[in-house]
Symmetry: C2
Subunit: 134 residues, 2 copies
DNA sequence: CGGGATCCTTACGGATACTG
DNA sequence: CAGTATCCGTAAGGATCCCG
């Protein structure tokens, strides 16, 4: 092995290309992009609901009763801005809006599945609950 | 199909069991657990470094020069508290501490891989950078 | 070397009330 | 119905300095 010349080598599965070799948090890194997509409280729950098919604003409110309209609107706006969710106004009265995942949004499904299975693995190992983080 | 009795059905791959059917963010949900494990700025970068093998505090500082000692200590403390990372003091002077992933910590590898590949997918679709989130 | 202690700023998220 | 407007408390995270 080269002694000191190469700082260190990353596992090729973990870091397949140069975009993963950043020395600081950077929006060009795929990991950050994926993390940003699911970040924010309630976001994964909203995504989970939409994975089952299009829903209106109040469908979502009914499915997630403790989520305030403000935060729900925030989440939907952010997801929309990232092209993960699309909104479609249905003409007429009362006003209705249908939210649906875009194809980019559907691409998050394997991530949610991975989160679930890794999380289950951690729980089965008896890892401690989050607690106060700092 | 039952007409209105069942509120709605989740995809079994996405939500394999009842722990994923929460109506609010909850530490019992595997998704939240996994998300908590990688949450926080710099966390995935620290994990990436440790995936290559044990490192000392200043090894990590050298690998991530823009990460302040305070935040690095924060991250390591949190990861330690969650049993994802273990610390080992090396006796003698100057003081040295070696950090390594626990087996639970190694369980995060597939999650990081999934984050990378889903993030790449999003980037290749030309999704917008994070931007101001709220 | 490996941290801890302080201070400060901002961004997030919750509550409540209101509107087209 | 589908949001917006406002206010507010908290916690994350960066900077700086210090200690064993």
């Amino acid at each position: 092995m080269g002694h000191q010349t190469e700082t260190h080598a990353f596992d090729a599965e973990l870091v397949p290309d140069s975009r993963g070799r950043t020395r600081r948090p950077s929006p060009e890194c795929p990991v950050e992009v994926a993390l940003a997509a699911v970040s924010g409280r309630w976001t994964t729950l909203v995504l989970r609901e939409l994975m089952a098919g299009p829903m209106s604003f109040s469908d979502l409110r009914a499915a997630l009763p403790d989520l305030s309209p403000k935060v729900l609107a925030d989440r939907l706006r952010t997801l929309d801005a990232r092209d993960l969710v699309g909104r479609q106004r249905i003409p007429g009265f009362p006003p209705r809006t249908s939210y649906r995942l875009t194809t980019a949004g559907e691409a998050l499904r394997p991530l949610l599945v991975a989160l679930y299975s890794v999380g289950s693995e951690l729980l089965s190992r008896g890892s401690r609950p989050p607690g106060p983080q700092a």
